[in-house]
Symmetry: D2
Subunit: 493 residues, 4 copies
């Protein structure tokens, strides 16, 4: 359907990295599923391609899944009425391939001897194929190509007696990044991998406990943020309250620093930092590290706004909306013909002509991935008459792919994987280009500097230093991921 | 949605038993999937609720499934183009419950260590729950509530080295009725259970072998009928041709006699008998066994037509279309209001007023299940002015439920399970009522009489003598069939 | 979408002429719209492409239209609940072009100064373009390309004071065939054109009057047939009962004889004749006129059945189902690839192999239009081993197009328009071919012979003698029918 | 469907006024329709409920309409391929009622004697019913309840010879606000009503002329802004270039000042003013008129941002994103249960907790309509711990309904129609509330002050001084708008 060569002219493919998932669960509330729907809506920025909610009513599990936004799938009262029970978990998903089908939509469910089990996963495993191969050999039948299904089968074949022990048994066999929310007939369980790469937070609404990828989802339902789930922690919420297990001992986390820079919502707080505050601080660091004389600071909407505010305030230069964003962007977009293909980026952004003309401009954006959009935005500013265009980026150069749940191009497609900063400036056509430094970024999150022996964060996309083994990559097992049956094309009424 | 109490006023619920499935496969033809679509279309009478086709192209399997008719799902050239390869199998399904969902649509597919395996099943197992319980205990995860999935898991966990041996290993553990068509990357396999309850035939088109539930599906693609698969026979079709295995030894089949009476298409031939010929012969037997003086023989359309022709010819009474059928019946129907509910049956049938008025009529139908439609048709003929209405039925009284793949009411809902023939005549309001006798039926299929020690056919629905154990029924395991998660309600685009 | 050259390989394009419409109305019943839905269902054979129902509740009109079958559009209780009121009219439509869109679906509605007016039309006008041109010149804006809209505008611009007079004023300006059912806030009106080419009947259910294209639709709701509306009669049904006006004086009707042969349902009676009876009588005439020695009479299902019964009884040859019809035909069909295109006809029909082999067969069908299907059926019988194939047709050769509401090919596409009977026999490959004679047909309907000075029926498709002027054809105005805007492609929710 | 009493808890009903339409046309470009689609996308903020495009290829008109966004309806290459020709016009629509149906979607088309005519309309007429009544009396049949259809019928029945003269003849009979783009086979025509209430601009792309509601739509296709169409001007674009007619003489326009405040996109320029610039200037005026000591200026996203920037810069107070907006809002929304209804506003907005806590905040928004959202936002800020909440509004109090194409509540539902500013402050719970003054607003747009004898703008919603008669309102003809047939419920495939 989509011509891959032209992918970058998709005006809504804004050359950003994409988070792959968000999870949310609530245990012990009479409107559990409705609250999960609201929570997922607040986490919608973590995944827009599909969503699902399961509930448990003391007797049976209920579920509903759909492609698209939470609001589009969970606004129907008939749908919500069927999601009975006072325990519920849900998931939003960004799919990395075009072939998203419902059987790849989470939460996953399996019927075990001891009852139903459902699970929602944010993150990505790095030894999926190795484990999967073993499981298939012993007769396990896989229904999807999600790494999450590996966890479900490991639980199914575990010889331990109860669900918790089976789950911990399963976790010991997997590697990579995972923030999980699971539900059985007796409990809701939250898990964060030993490095705590992806976020997971505990909240409370009256006497009800909640798990959420981000704290902003507590606000929408009027709940309070209790604390982050610790790296390597398993939290069990049942009728007796909250218990914590640390099957991996106390581990020093390496939270994904890019969550602060771009993925998380600015109104979330993660590991005692305000996301908005970190972004403004990066902006201020940028102004100090690579200041330039100019007439105005212009954010690339919308993700560049907090850093641009921070930059403008620090540099005492006017903050102006020099680029106007079209709010009405949907799943589909007008396919530009050959003739008008170069207009693509304007589907989403337009230069604010009267403001920009003749001015020296500092554009602030959060990252450069392949560089395609940056090039077009610089060009658009010049066509609008900007006298100078300086680009400042609130992350270090993105030079390495992520294996922990973020959809990244291969290294050879990453602009910073191939070029120096000067070369990049020339490619995108900017008068100057500046990235925040690694240490500047660490300062903005409140650290003195990066501890190179034991980095405080996962910054692998900037440094290439991955916190875990990458077994599937190293075994070159990616081809095994191709099943002999492509994802089923299903239809019906 | 549907009010069960009013089910019988559904004008299209014609108080018939329903076949649950049809299967078709072809190996070694460059338009394999297109031929399977045509074959399934010819088998559409065996199931109209859903259909699916898988193909294998030497590298990968491809599939498409959908709710509804074959023509509605496999007419799109884009769909057919994706079903590449020269091996293909397919399935049409009649679902016994309203909750048909795509994951219950066949063929089923599983990815094994040695590659993909897909299977289509006509029939019903009688020890599904017992086997399933064992499999779940050892960690198998079920995705559907179809008994066919039990076979797939048994193949998956078998310790034998190759697919054939694994399949035979699986078959030894199951009981009931099954005609199977399976496909691996190397072969197409056909299986008929030891009693051969459901039909399965081998055909040939040039050098290409074909498996089909009925021979009428060979005609549509211009193929020739080779022979029936034997009861208990496993047929393997691969690049070396056709091989036959009889893992259960030589078994004396007990083919379902109701296939002759109603389920199979009149233009099929099964076990050396023409279905149309059997039906006419039953009509003639009926005329001899329970003749009555009348002005015309009127078939209840359309299934009563061949027997009515046989009856009329034998009795030398005029054959007339005294009932006209509305051809435009769809999946949905006009919901009669309370006021006009009694008009239901006329949605499908109408008395041919001018012919019927003042005449003595012999109505010929194939069976009486609950009796609801028969009652309405007799009433309709009387309102049209018929002087006498005699009902003749081309099957013995249906008094016992089927456990082998036919959707039957429980015994207490079967009219013949509760009442004598005289009582039934009174209930449906006929001047007289006659059923073919058991021996008359055996004569019509060419036997001298029923061999009561070793019946030549499965006639359990008339006699209550089931050819196999009914373990799930006897263990009262039907409740275990209820999963804790009801069938997933899925939606999407 | 459809390749016109291959149209005839559409297995469901059975080379038949197609009726274009059916109409039904009821006045003064508290479940008016539900009864109209049932009535339209009984008239579904007159048009399957679209349907619509309007009702009036004393204050407002309500409507619902849809593509497809009545059952598919009017089975939803929410839809029916909105069709309030005790007066209602409806329409089923067969469209001659692929581009059916909702704005071409009837009934048509217009808001006049004196209130709403809606109308449903069966038939076709022959001076549409001439009238339309005049109306557009004076400022009328057309919304569809239906000739019915001409009637609506003529009513709108009429200078008469009340609706009846305006309608009669309009009728005086149009030519062609029309059976109309209209509804205003005060009355339901039925009209049949002066020649009465299309049928229209008056029925009664208790104190409620009903208008219907055919009497079979009275049966479905338990109403009684009162009489046919006379040619040239306007019937007004309102709270005072039934009034009749004959604005054209007493006219001698020329009812379409093809309605007896094929279009009408066999269980209808029209102008004092039973349709089924006429068809059997034609079969008997055929046996007398062109008898041939044979082993069996085989109807081409399903329309050939009554004539085949008549033929078999007269000739004393066995009546057998030598062709079996697949009942599961839908709107779409499996597109045959080049390879298997010749299999097309078998999508719908299959030879009953065991019966046919070695036999001399008389095939009885109702008509030959282009001859494509006849050729394939004869070929199919030969491949099944028939010793001889004789074709007998229960209509005279169809040599002229219809301009009165039947979708016919142009004369040059009609086989009988180009070839002699002997040539036709050779083309379709039959051992012999016989058509009923014109006088034989007139005898079968009860006339002594055709009155060539004033034919009793419209038989223009056989004789080329049209009862009315064909102004649009003669003015060659067909091109004006092409609007500068093709039918609007509309979508939405 | 929607419970009107709860409408205000619709989280996406942000208590704003809504523009009803946007128009765009291009004449003489080989990719005309594709450019119209892009232009409409840039005008999407003027209407999101439906959209339509017509094109003309020299022979025929082509069209496509749909409910929803431009991107959702015009992204399919097959759709675009059918919109052939080098002239094209389009429309986006915001419907004021729930019952939007396709026949109410513009452009409207009519087939006249001299060929096709299509028209797209932004604005609202004030004598629709009076004119419509006259037209119906003379036999015109209306198909929609849009006032635009009145214009089409007036053109149809005009006695003038050519389209231009007929259109001007029609314009002389209508009153109210209209910016029109029309297309015939020979020309594209743009019209702005004598007061120029709605915007319309002329652009140029190479040798091709373009008409657009706003200049921002020129940018998306790389065209240049030529000039505004003058109030009362008719512009004709044909193969000879551009001609201008002023049938009403030179009129002093009264452009809608609310277009600057809220409706228009900030990157548009209208009547020589930059919309973004006007908004910042209002912010600065607000700071001067009603300054207050505070810690931060917080815009209510997104429309409050430019004024907040202007305010913050003038007041030298930090500009901060104290409210975070959820970008993923669709057409549907999660229906809050009774329990959680109060959470509604948080579906769209969330307080940025860490920034807001303990701070004195100046909220800047563009208007207060019913006040429902303002109340919830103030409450949300207080719950987030704000020390003080001051509200500043960049428009004067909205106290009167608009009759010129903006969807406004009746006066009794407008907060400013019922309460003083102090009362309003108390109702919404703010520590202080300030609106820009009428003269402050006039200063911000560059006037010294309002000329009360001949106001420079239409400011009727603030002052109650309407530039035209309001005949329908004064005649109380609104009830005649109710047709006897409610908008047709149509369905199909």
């Amino acid at each position: 359907m989509t011509d891959l060569d032209h992918m970058t002219t998709n005006p809504f493919d804004d050359d950003k990295l994409h988070e792959e998932c968000g999870v949310f669960g609530i245990y012990g509330h009479k409107e559990a599923a409705a609250h999960v729907a609201l929570g997922l809506h607040a986490l919608q920025h973590r995944g827009q391609e599909a969503c699902g909610i399961f509930s448990y009513d003391g007797q049976q599990f209920h579920s509903h899944k759909g492609m698209g936004l939470v609001g589009d799938n969970f606004s129907d009262q008939a749908v919500m009425a069927q999601l009975k029970g006072n325990a519920s978990i849900g998931h939003v998903r960004y799919a990395t391939t075009g072939g998203t089908v419902l059987r790849n939509v989470q939460p996953l469910f399996a019927e075990f001897e001891f009852g139903g089990f459902c699970i929602a996963h944010n993150g990505n495993l790095t030894n999926t194929q190795a484990v999967r191969r073993t499981l298939v050999r012993r007769g396990c039948i896989f229904q999807s190509d999600m790494d999450t299904e590996v966890i479900v089968h490991l639980v199914a074949v575990s010889l331990y007696a109860n669900v918790e022990d089976r789950l911990i048994d399963a976790l010991r066999q997997i590697e990579g990044a995972y923030s999980l929310v699971a539900m059985t007939k007796d409990a809701m369980i939250g898990v964060r991998d030993p490095f705590g790469v992806r976020p997971l937070a505990l909240g409370k609404l009256d006497e009800t406990y909640i798990l959420s990828s981000e704290s902003c989802a507590f606000d929408i339902i009027g709940a309070e943020f209790v604390r982050d789930v610790d790296p390597g922690e398993v939290i069990i919420i049942d009728k007796n309250g909250v218990r914590s297990i640390k099957p991996f001992g106390n581990t020093a986390g390496r939270f994904c620093v890019f969550e602060y820079i771009y993925f998380a919502r600015p109104d979330s707080q993660i590991e005692d930092r305000s996301v908005y505050g970190v972004r403004k601080a990066i902006g201020a660091e940028l102004a100090r590290e690579s200041g330039v004389d100019a007439d105005m600071v212009v954010p690339v909407p919308d993700s560049g706004v907090p850093s641009a505010i921070g930059y403008a305030a620090e540099a005492k230069i006017a903050f102006e909306l020099g680029i106007i964003r079209n709010h009405y962007v949907g799943r589909t977009f007008i396919e530009p013909t050959q003739e008008i293909r170069h207009l693509g980026v304007r589907m989403k952004h337009n230069a604010n002509l009267n403001e920009v003309k003749g001015k020296r401009i500092i554009l602030v954006d959060d990252s450069i991935v392949r560089g395609t959009t940056s090039k077009k935005i610089v060009e658009m500013m010049r066509q609008a008459g900007a006298a100078e265009v300086h680009m400042r980026i609130s992350s270090p150069p993105t030079a390495w792919p992520c294996f922990y749940g973020i959809d990244t191009p291969k290294r050879e497609k990453l602009l910073a994987g191939q070029y120096t900063i000067d070369e990049m400036a020339e490619i995108i056509g900017a008068d100057s280009l500046g990235f925040i430094s690694i240490d500047g970024m660490y300062r903005a999150v409140g650290e003195a500097k990066r501890n190179n022996d034991a980095p405080q964060f996962c910054d692998a996309c900037f440094t290439g230093e991955y916190p875990t083994r990458l077994q599937d990559r190293d075994d070159d097992l990616s081809d095994e991921r191709q099943p002999t049956l492509p994802l089923l094309a299903e239809q019906g009424k």
